[in-house]
């Protein structure tokens, strides 16, 4: 069923706000998405009825909260089609998931002279942790280039893979360019070379159906807050064989089996990686978000967002001197651009005053921005609650900026 945009928008209270006396147009969805009432209510309901610390309690509330927690894990397993619930680890966000793998994988598997392959389009959260662990272990970080349209240069990527390569860490979707990487092909290639692949799914999971079994990736990381769920919760999917091998990351709480003064043994998966009191609220909210998305349908969402993208590209292209960053054929629903030589900060400030929230700057992908030799871009990123009319308002706003700075 196609998206009923009025109905959908009614689910997101913040969308009816005004800023600077103009209706808010929220195009900063790649930074964080807004939350439907269903998620907000799931959180209030949780605190009003079920709040409790979980797992080890034998009392009623604790059992109820534990059950809710583990039910959420099932729901998320299904959402990404992970083979098993114990391959679904809850973290505080994509950054933590990525740091966890970099730290634990690095600790166990990286030795001097080893190599980690990544790309120049990575978000800092999938770049700096590898840079740090490589330096610590005397390993080398190899960085794959992009082509002129923002597509990953897979030939360059493949040329970087050798017997020294211990892991490939790359993004599903670039948060600056929108480029959707050909994961299946890359992963199959890497596996033929015996190299595991970590995917940063922060920008991937909310906009199209993700199937980690089909992708056959070794790790997949994402955040709740970028998929209409709460802040402070994220997921690390990892293949059992890897998660079993990796040493624990943080410790304390539920993740131990036996703590002796002399030595500690660790709990089984997924608990081994979940130190401290888990964020039951976050998991409950994320579950509500997943249910909401399932209800609308990921296919409908993709189709709708693709149409928004098409309209945005058409509208903005009609303005002269536009410089687009990221025009790959497979592209998520966002546009990164500069308006002639106008500084992105200038453009963003004025666009904001017209009630439109866009992000400007390097978008935590500085190596990529440096590659282009620019101070940053203006990025408008769309969600299924945005409308064609809002897109047209963006085009008008950009024209206005151009006139103001002429």
């Amino acid at each position: 069923m196609p998206i009923d945009i009025q109905k959908v928008r009614a689910d997101f209270p913040i969308l009816s706000h005004t800023v600077y006396k103009r209706p808010l147009i929220y195009f900063d969805n790649a930074a964080t998405t807004q939350k439907p009432l269903q998620v907000i209510k799931a959180i209030s309901d949780y605190y009003e009825n079920d709040n409790c610390n979980i797992h080890r309690g034998v009392h009623y509330l604790s059992m109820k909260a534990t059950e809710a927690f583990e039910e959420a894990r099932k729901e998320i397993r299904e959402f990404i089609n992970a083979p098993s619930t114990h391959e679904v680890v809850f973290t505080k966000g994509a950054s933590e998931s990525l740091n966890l793998v970099a730290a634990s994988f690095g600790k166990k598997f990286l030795k001097p002279g080893d190599e980690v392959v990544t790309t120049i389009m990575e978000h800092h959260s999938n770049f700096v942790p590898w840079q740090i662990i490589c330096e610590e272990k005397g390993a080398v970080l190899r960085v794959a280039n992009i082509l002129a349209d923002g597509d990953l240069d897979t030939r360059h990527l493949y040329s970087l893979i050798s017997e020294k390569t211990k892991i490939i860490a790359l993004t599903h979707v670039s948060n600056v360019l929108g480029t959707i990487n050909p994961l299946k092909e890359i992963i199959a290639h890497a596996h033929r070379m015996g190299v595991p692949v970590l995917v940063d799914g922060a920008q991937g999971v909310a906009h199209a159906k993700v199937d980690v079994s089909d992708l056959d990736c070794d790790f997949y990381c994402f955040s709740g807050h970028k998929m209409y769920g709460p802040m402070g919760i994220g997921v690390l999917y990892g293949k059992e064989k890897w998660l079993e091998e990796l040493p624990p990351y943080q410790s304390g709480g539920e993740m131990v089996k036996d703590v002796r003064i002399e030595r500690t043994t660790f709990n089984e998966l997924p608990f081994k990686f979940e130190a401290g009191t888990p964020n039951v609220e976050g998991v409950t909210g994320l579950r509500a978000a997943v249910q909401y998305l399932k209800n609308i349908g990921m296919e409908e969402i993709s189709l709708y967002e693709d149409r928004l993208l098409k309209r945005a590209v058409e509208g903005l292209s009609s303005i002269s001197d536009m410089r687009f960053y990221g025009t790959a054929p497979e592209k998520a629903s966002l546009v990164s651009f500069l308006i002639g030589d106008i500084h992105p900060f200038d453009a963003g400030t004025i666009i904001d005053k017209m009630g439109i929230a866009v992000r400007t700057g390097h978008h935590c992908a500085q190596p990529l921005i440096d590659h282009f030799g620019i101070p940053g871009t203006v990025r408008a990123s769309f969600a299924f609650y945005n409308t064609a009319d809002e897109i047209d308002r963006l085009t008008e706003a950009v024209s206005r900026v151009k006139r103001m700075f002429a």
């Binding site: 080890r56 309690g57 034998v58 059992m63 059950e67």
Partner: protein
Amino acid sequence: MTIQEIENQLVDEFAAFDDWLDKYDLILDMGKSLPPIDPKYKTDQYLISGCQSKVWLFAEYRDGKVYFTADSDAIITKGIVSMLISVLSGQAPDAIQSADLNFIDRIGLKEHLSPTRSNGLASMVKQMKLYAMVFKMKS
């Protein structure tokens, strides 16, 4: 009696009580009446460790039937163990493997067999079915 018949009997026994505390009184009685396990099996090898209470489980195979004995350091756990044993002990491996043990749920004690419950009973059931499988393969 078949597994199903014993299960029904247990459900009936509990149906007589309305209050939770009375039901637990019955569980305690069952716990106290669990035949003791041979002390030589009360070792780490036979231990199924939950987080809070310990369960020791031993099984023998005679004449096509599996016989279980068990113990726990907590009496409520012993009570549930006692019920599981009365249902499964003396049954054929096939019957044990396919038992869904829904009497626990029907009595309202489902929580005790939940894998997130901290008492090792879920692992105990798994272990009982594993014994059954192994005995069947060997025979």
